[in-house]
Amino acid sequence: MHPILARLERLAAYLALWCAIGVLEGVVLTRQGLGWGEALVQVLPPLLAYSFVCLSAFYVCRAMPLTTSGVAGVLTASAVAASVAGGLWLILNEVWLGTLESMPDLASITRRFRGEVPFLFAVAVMLFLLVLSVHYVVLAFEAFRTAERQQLELQVLTRDAELRALRAQVNPHFLYNSLNSISALTGSDPAAARRMCLLLAEFLRTTLRVSTQERIPLAEELTLAERYLSIEQVRFGARLQVERSIDESALECQVPPLVLQPLLENAVGHGIAGMIDGGIIRLDVVRRGERLAIAVENPRDPDAMPRARGGVGLENVRKRLTIVFGGAARMDAAQSDTSFRVALDLPCHFDA
């Protein structure tokens, strides 16, 4: 779309500028001995018609963009276009003067005016070149604005994707329940409330940080998991117990972030939370050569009702393992009446 014709206020400003130029030309002509009225009546109409001819400069800009065309090409195209425009002005001028001359009252005034035509032709060519350069500037400015907006949109999209990834990782109800615990502790045990705030902040910060990484050492994933368990420990107290068996040699293995924490969250939410007296979650990490095996087992209530967020966290882990490893990793879940066990088997090192 033409940048000036697209908006009415721009066209108005453009035409106003041309009127001003016309008045200036009139002033110059009065110096040559023409009267004010005579000068304006002869200069303005062809000039305003010509202003629309100059709008075609936009198409020259489009045909010869500064970013991809050579200097010589742009200059040649500008010179040719300016000459053609100047020729058009000559025609417009001739038609107008002819019209004036056909009216007997006005015929006399054009005679002196004709002497000024070469000067006015030069001005017309210069004006076309000026309009052309203005177009180039406006277009460059708009391209810059568009690029800036696209950059912003991209940032928003990226942020949005990160937030959605975070939401998928951090169960909002875990947050609400933790905040409710903090609210309770604030009254009875302010020091514990503060500890819980810090734990929660650490957990969220670490989750945010690692969720943008492609891989982290297992040791770091274990730290995150322990923070998660400490927070749940405040909520569930003695109902939540954890037994760990972790190979030292596994700690240096590289894993996609947040593969272990969802398994524990599932064990707490679907296991411990459903049992009146709670129970023991078993975490086993074993390294065999270049393979890493992670297993989480939790007790479950045999009569447990199906829960609202059943399996979404586990399903996310499975999807991500498939994306990262293809067939080189697997996740198995097995359930008995009284227990649930999920096991991951994945490479100890991998190229993302």
């Binding site: 609400y176 329940n177 903090i182 107290g237």
Partner: protein, 251 residues
């Protein structure tokens, strides 16, 4: 009628998390004319407390071991006003369908709890309870059909797995679940029971009987040409004409 704010409230707090109970108890201690008569860590304790203490209000968590909040309301909702407390907003609609007085989202503020108490007193002042017909239907899991039936027997709760039910019989304002040689009475209609159970497993064979299809051996005709369903334990139940049509379409 007394001023609503002067109505004394005896409250039972039900939540499996000690801290969640503590914060409610703390907020309630600052309210006038409110007494916390019990704190329960699960639904069984809650039913017992309602039977033994006859409180005015139950502050009830939704997600708890064994019995969830909706099941507790199904069991005691006729005797006590219920306000749900939960971190989950997706149960709100269901909560109001079963006529819970209010629905508080964790973390809970003292102000919001205060508003809930006002509502409870307004409702008590009008002499209403949280009862609603069809509560059984609302208390079943959101997707699919109930996989167990809860029956209250004073302070005790019987949990009957659906596949252990032989048949259900309508008796005045109650239905009677027959399971493993015992009868369990529950205050609801046979229509509500039918709506809560899997229609592929339970068939309305008669105005007063809902039969577990897997218990059916054969259909006989007695000396007066009436059809009779014979069950695996030898028991005989009447089959109406419409019931026989439904039964035939399933067999």
């Amino acid at each position: 009628m007394p001023e609503p704010s002067s109505i004394p409230l005896r409250v039972v707090i039900v939540d499996d998390e000690p801290l969640a109970r503590a914060v409610l108890a703390e907020f309630l201690s600052a309210e006038t004319n409110v007494e916390v008569v019990a704190q329960c860590a699960n639904g069984f304790e809650a039913v017992k407390a309602v039977s033994e203490l006859t409180p005015d209000l139950l502050l009830l968590d939704v997600q708890m071991p064994k019995l969830d909040g909706f099941e507790v309301l199904d069991l005691v909702g006729r005797d006590v006003a219920v306000v749900f407390t939960t971190a989950y907003d997706q149960y709100a609609l269901r909560a109001f369908e079963v006529h819970a007085v209010d629905y508080l989202l964790k973390p809970i503020s003292a102000e919001r709890l205060g508003e809930a108490l006002v509502r409870v007193r307004e409702r008590l002042g009008r002499g209403e309870r949280a009862t609603s017909p069809g509560m059984m239907a609302a208390a079943k899991p959101q997707e699919g059909k109930a996989h167990r039936v809860l029956v209250r027997d004073g302070p005790r709760v019987h949990v009957i797995p659906v596949d252990k039910i032989d048949y259900v019989q309508a008796q005045d304002d109650y239905v009677c679940f027959r399971s493993e040689g015992k009868d369990y009475l529950k205050e609801q209609t046979l229509g509500e029971t039918e709506a809560a159970l899997d229609p592929a497993a339970f068939v309305r064979i008669h105005r007063s009987y809902l039969l577990n299809l897997s218990r059916l051996v054969r259909v006989d005709q007695d000396e007066r040409e009436n059809r009779v369903a014979v069950l695996t334990d030898g028991r005989r139940l009447p089959v109406s004409r419409a019931g026989y049509t439904r039964l035939s379409s399933l067999l």
